[in-house]
Amino acid sequence: MYEVISAISKWMLPVLLVFIPLYALIRRVSIYESFVEGAKEGFPTAVQIIPHLVGMMVAVSIFRDSGALQFGLQLLKPVTEWLHIPEEVLPVGLLRPISGTGSLAFVESILRTYGPDSFIGKLASTIQASTDTTLYVITVYFGAVGIKRSLYALKVGLWADLAGFLFSWLICSMVFQ
């Protein structure tokens, strides 16, 4: 099963790369011109995102590196102890929505300490993989088109992250333990 899915994933990009221009040429599109025309928008879009992302990542970085994150983890410890969630994966879950590279660093240290095939290692991997970095996605998507009021998008994203964390734990406990 995995081989099939993995093959699809590996072939996807090269196939698209051939298929799109080929199909377009048959439909008499001047493909190279179209490519350049569309590609022109790439640079301004990336530049447009810079201020939004700098603002957000400065705050995330201060929160993470100053020790505030560690303090938050101490506060959450009784809750996870009560639920019997291993405390090692707590930083992964807490950082996942705000900093993807930050939580990945914790996953790596768990894999190093406990091994990738331990229960904690599998749980940390699942938590990391089951969701995307909410704060980054919201900053980039809304930043690119200049939306100031994001309504309830952040709330939905964060609640879904919590759900992803709890479901990961629940499913891993059933499958791997």
Partner: protein, 194 residues
């Protein structure tokens, strides 16, 4: 809400650093964060330029309309406020497909194009529309078929079976995405009733 979270992270960091007597951590972290953010954006340039070029070919060839037409029932269900023939739909569906098939870096350019098109339908360009929030809900919950990055990392650490997390991950991400869609609907309705 984003204002409060932003301020909270900075103030909490300031207090934590001050209590440890290491206020220099705040300065270091701030500059490091800014540097990382610019590096991410620089990295995005190549991806955006490449994929927006490819997407323009697909659009000029009518491929996006085809995709939108093919997945019409899904789109209608998730994005009732967007006209089914609107170009936004094609970008939204390519964004979803790219996410699902693990073409992570193609998903962002397609998603940003979708946002741009949705913005054209927006009566108030400073405020998000329900359709935008739904697109964000789908993207933040990260529905994906194979988590390639994490499998790579598990391999690097010498896992006997690096892929055995695929099943649990798929179930967890599916549940999280379902929650996101339901919550999105709930808040959408509440916003409407005001």
């Amino acid at each position: 809400m984003i204002n409060y979270i932003w301020l909270f992270m900075i103030v909490a960091g300031f207090i934590a650093a001050a209590l440890q007597g290491r206020i220099d951590l705040v300065t270091l972290a701030a500059l490091k964060g800014a540097k990382e953010a610019v590096a991410v954006c620089i990295g995005l340039i190549s991806i955006l330029v490449f994929w927006l070029g490819m997407m323009r070919i697909a659009k000029d060839a009518g491929l996006l309309e085809k995709l939108a037409h093919l997945l019409r029932p899904v789109a209608k269900l998730l994005f009732p406020s967007v006209p089914p023939d609107h170009p936004a739909m094609g970008y939204i569906l390519s964004n979803m497909s790219a996410n699902f098939f693990g073409l992570g870096n193609a998903a962002t350019p397609m998603g940003l194009k979708a946002m741009e098109e949705l913005q054209k339908l927006n009566p108030d360009p400073k405020t998000a529309t329900p359709a935008m929030c739904t697109l964000l809900a789908l993207n933040t919950s990260g529905l994906t078929l194979i988590p390639t990055t994490i499998i790579g990392i598990r391999m690097k650490h010498g896992s006997v079976d690096p892929t055995d997390i695929i099943g649990p991950t798929l179930i967890a991400t599916f549940c999280a995405t379902t929650c996101a869609i339901l919550l999105d609907r709930y808040y959408q309705r509440r916003e409407w009733n005001r």
